[in-house]
């Protein structure tokens, strides 16, 4: 068993069997087995015509023929690639500098920045998208009206109804996600190399370009792959800004196919697209795996003691503060104001005297309180359980992949990454079918929170493993080797060496998965019933039916409840010394 870890047991340990490696492999197998089961159902769906479960179901290749011979498929994919690339560029361009400022400089107000960054995920995407419509739409955009009046223009100069503007907006939405993924790596990085570069006379930008960025490469690659793939699946911005201009991306196309006005949802077509996306994701996973093979080069957490070097910003402090503030105003304050505005109105309208006269608290009063409470409780349970299980499984998978020599260990990482490529709603259908037709007589989870937990954990495994992979790559094996020489078992090494060193990344990942769980829209669509209704689906229901006021009111209530919890979370994390908030 210990051979899997590639090391001989220390003499003191020989009498005890070391069960930890088997346990870790077992956890990795269960987690990736769940992924495999759901993927298998998606694959099966791509070959069938009709309602799953129906005895009259027929097997066909028509979905594949339709997909490959329809030029619209390629247009949708091209749009999605452009959208995703733009989103990725903007997200990384904003996130990496902010992460560096927070983790490696004396930038002030770090708990506030971390709280605001995490709060960003609590602002529903529809509010962000509608906010930009009200600002920049050619017909009703306030900024356009103002520019036309001031400069006497006959046409609106700005427009968000194009793929690049949509991508940029999505990029701003995804900045917090990229921030969290890169901040954790920056936090864990030994600054010895940077100090050596500085001692050798390198300028700060040279150090950043030649030392910091290359060392951060695995974490940046993980963030880039993850953010790009999230961009592929982004729904709110393409639905509100793109659909009205007939710009379809993958997510809006999938939604359109799965919610037809006539006939049954075309699960087969979407599953077929999902198989194509899985193939693309498999290529990305392969590229990522190749980068991982260089892992030892990026191990910067070594046995030598170190303290992260905090750079003094000096005169650059004010521009840095203004830059970060500008980001928060544009990317977060405006959507938040939009959310407040929508919550106070009976129906959505641009700011005007007439709109101000209609302002009231009716949307808050009219909220279904019992339902809100039930959904809020379910969401609280999901937010506690899903990240915990996900990270438990992620650590196990990363450890097996990066710290053992068992054959085919790469398959675990490969499988853990793939859920990212499958539209959440398709996963949801697959989970529904498994719960109804496979698990029903064994573990009846349909209609319970467990089915949501299962699907959420599987869907978040890709994110969890990117975070734990990145963090584990940075930890040099010499620390574990030292512990083993001192007689520690694998469990002891994990508990006393790896977990404390992984803790900053796990803390970031935990809160982030909790927030992603909070705002998950598509996964509950098919599997949520009265017994497991989550808060996000309640809000999404309001949005779907144009009840923006109630959706905004409910979101603000949750935001008000979550904000102090988030602040407390970061303060506790700082006190425990897990995150750098000096």
């Amino acid at each position: 068993m210990t051979a899997m870890a590639g090391k001989a047991p220390a003499p003191a340990e020989r009498r005890r069997r070391d069960w930890a490696p088997a346990g870790m492999v077992g956890v990795a197998m269960v987690a990736t087995g769940a992924v495999l089961a759901l993927l298998a159902v998606v694959f099966w769906l791509s070959f069938v015509e009709g309602t799953p479960g129906d005895p009259a179901l027929v097997y066909t290749l028509d979905h594949y023929r339709a997909m490959f011979f329809d030029s619209f498929t390629y247009r949708v994919l091209w749009n999605t690639v452009l959208f995703s690339a733009m989103a990725l560029s903007v997200a990384l361009a904003l996130a990496v500098p902010i992460a560096w400022l927070i983790e490696r400089t004396d930038f002030p107000g770090k708990p506030l920045i971390l709280t605001l960054m995490t709060t960003a995920l609590l602002i529903p995407g529809f509010a962000v998208s509608l906010g930009w419509v009200f600002l920049l739409h050619p017909k009703i955009g306030l900024v356009n009206h103002w520019l036309m009046a001031v400069f006497g223009l006959s046409e609106a100069p700005l427009d968000v109804g194009n793929i690049f503007a949509m991508g940029a907006i999505e990029g701003m939405n995804l900045t917090p996600l990229a921030f969290i993924m890169t901040a954790a790596a920056l936090r864990a990085m030994d600054p010895a190399l940077e100090e050596a570069a500085a001692t050798s006379g390198a300028r700060p930008w040279q150090t950043a370009w030649r030392v910091t960025l290359p060392v951060l490469w695995p974490a940046l690659l993980a963030a880039a792959i993850y953010v790009a793939t999230i961009g592929f699946a982004a729904f709110d911005v393409p639905a509100i800004l793109g659909l009205s201009r007939r710009i379809f991306t993958f997510s809006t196309y999938v939604f359109w196919v799965l919610t037809p006005s006539e006939g049954a949802p075309e699960y087969g077509s979407v599953a077929c697209l999902s198989v194509l996306m899985t193939a693309i994701a498999a290529l990305m996973s392969w590229a990522y795996r190749r980068a991982q093979r260089q892992a030892p080069k990026y191990a910067v957490v070594t046995g030598k003691g170190y303290r992260p070097r905090i750079a003094r910003l000096g005169r650059a402090k004010l521009p840095a503060i203004l830059g970060v503030a500008l980001y928060f105003v544009v990317a977060q304050l405006l959507p938040l104001l939009m959310l407040c505005w929508a919550a106070l109105l009976p129906y959505l309208q641009p700011p005007s005297a007439a709109a101000l006269a209609a302002v009231s608290l009716n949307n808050f009063r009219n909220l279904p309180q019992a339902l809100l409470w039930r959904a809020g409780t379910n969401t609280a349970i999901l937010m506690a359980v899903v990240p915990t299980i996900t990270l438990f499984a992620s650590v196990a998978i990363s450890w097996v992949v990066l710290r053992t020599r068992i054959r085919f260990r790469g398959v675990f990482d490969f499988l853990a990454f793939l859920p990212l490529a499958i539209p959440a709603i398709v996963f949801s259908v697959a989970a529904l079918l498994i719960a109804l037709f496979v698990l029903r007589s064994i573990v009846p989870i349909y209609g319970t929170l467990w089915i949501l937990i299962l699907v959420y954990v599987v869907a978040r495994l890709s994110y969890g493993t990117r975070m734990t992979n990145g963090a584990l790559i940075q930890i040099h094996t010499e620390l574990e080797e030292s512990a083993r020489v001192c007689g520690a078992s694998t469990g002891g090494v994990l508990r006393r060496v790896l977990l404390p060193l992984l803790m900053p990344s796990l803390v970031y990942a935990w809160i982030w998965i909790a927030l992603l769980t909070y705002r998950e829209l598509s996964l509950p669509v098919v599997i949520s019933t009265s017994g497991n209704l989550p808060f996000s689906y309640l809000v999404w229901g309001f949005v779907q039916d144009s009840a923006y006021g109630q959706a905004a009111a409910a979101s603000l209530i949750m935001l008000a409840l979550m904000l102090p919890i988030l602040l407390l979370y970061w303060l506790v994390a700082r006190r425990a010394g897990i995150v750098a908030l000096r």
Binding site: S244, W256, E262, P265, L436, L533
Partner: protein, 361 residues
């Protein structure tokens, strides 16, 4: 035998006393049995999008009204769910798996329900016998599986201020005028255009030719839920809205912001139905819910005030007056019922193929 008869009389009397408080529903022996069984079930579970059943507000109203009308103590619990089509697929999968259905009452149109009629998904109920004073056999369709409860008139849903030109639209040909290019939107699934595809209306070639010429005229696409965006002026007009904006237009009723305009050559009355899944956990309570919807009070205070439009079959209904006023102007409606839909097979697939034309810019 005598004992059973006496018990039935007592039971009927007991429920009649409760019902007498509302005095709107004559208590037949059949109805009394349903009321008793519903009381034992205790709950009505509803699952739908927010606008269907009027969401939580509709559930609260229904609970109070049903209990008052039938003298029961039922709880009406509503949960958000997917749209008509996806929900029907889930209900069917639940049935195949031997699971109780996740909703006691399913509301839909003939389009979404027809594929499941031969799959024994919905319960056959003798609706007319349960409430003969309000339900006539014509309202009962699909061999007793579906009960008509609401009629909608799809048309152009528009912002009166941003699209005043809509009132001048007489026929679909008017939409092709060059001056209207880029001034209106349609749905990604071409809602309402399916009726044109019928051979006894336009047929596929003519409809396809029209949609090809319509596509360049469009400013873009929007779902039927985009009512707020129409009200804000971002989307001036939606040609055509799924339901004449009946449900989504509710909060704008009487405010002079939005209006629905029926186009003469694609005028259609679309019927909405209530059905009860065979595996409903509370079938008798579901029947009571459905029966309440058909009462005069249910039509006025729940269907019209909360769902958007009432049922054309009732001569005193709002939609009856509206449709008759349009008919007096020479507009002829296609009544999209189960019989009509079944008489025109393949329209859903043809319409889906047609919708691809409007996706392209």
């Amino acid at each position: 035998m005598m004992f059973r008869l006496a018990a039935l009389v007592c039971l009927s009397s007991a429920f009649a006393i409760g019902a007498a408080q509302a005095a709107t529903v004559p208590m037949t022996p059949e109805l009394a049995k349903v009321v008793k069984a519903a009381e034992a079930e205790g709950t009505i579970s509803l699952r739908s999008t927010n606008t269907v059943f009027a969401g939580p507000e509709g559930a609260k109203f229904a609970q109070d009204a049903i209990n008052k009308t039938f003298g029961t103590h039922l709880t009406v619990a509503w949960t958000p769910g997917p749209a008509y089509g996806p929900l029907a697929a889930i209900l069917y999968q639940e049935k195949l798996a031997g699971q109780k259905s996740s909703t006691d009452v399913y509301t839909t149109t003939a389009v979404q329900m027809t594929p499941y009629l031969d799959k024994d998904l919905f319960r056959v109920v003798d609706w007319a016998k349960l409430m003969p004073s309000r339900i006539n056999p014509d309202m009962v369709e699909a061999e007793g599986r579906a009960l008509r409860f609401q009629t909608v008139l799809p048309g152009i849903l528009y912002n009166r201020k941003a699209a005043p030109w809509v009132s001048s639209i007489e026929t679909t040909a008017d939409l092709l005028k060059p001056e209207l290019k880029g001034k209106f939107y349609t749905t990604p699934f071409l809602a309402g255009f399916d009726v044109l595809l019928a051979n006894d209306v336009w047929g596929v070639p003519k409809t396809e030719d029209f949609v090809r010429r319509l596509s360049p005229q469009l400013a873009g696409l929007a779902g039927c839920e985009a009512t707020d965006r129409i009200a804000s002026g971002e989307i001036p007009a939606l040609v055509v809205d799924c339901s004449g904006g009946a449900v989504n237009r509710l909060k704008y009723r009487g405010k002079g912001i939005l209006a629905n305009h029926v186009i003469r050559d694609m005028a259609q009355k679309r019927e909405d139905y209530l059905a009860i899944p065979v595996n409903a956990p509370h079938p008798n309570a579901a029947i009571l819910y459905t029966l309440y919807v058909m009462t005069h009070e249910g039509q006025e205070r729940m269907v019209y005030d909360l769902f958007g439009d009432d049922l054309y079959d009732f001569p005193d209904s709002h939609i009856h007056r509206e449709a008759d006023a349009l008919a007096a102007k020479g507009i002829k409606f296609i009544d999209v019922t189960f019989d009509w839909w079944r008489a025109h097979p393949g329209l859903d697939k043809a319409n889906a193929a047609l919708a691809k034309l409007v996706r392209q810019r």
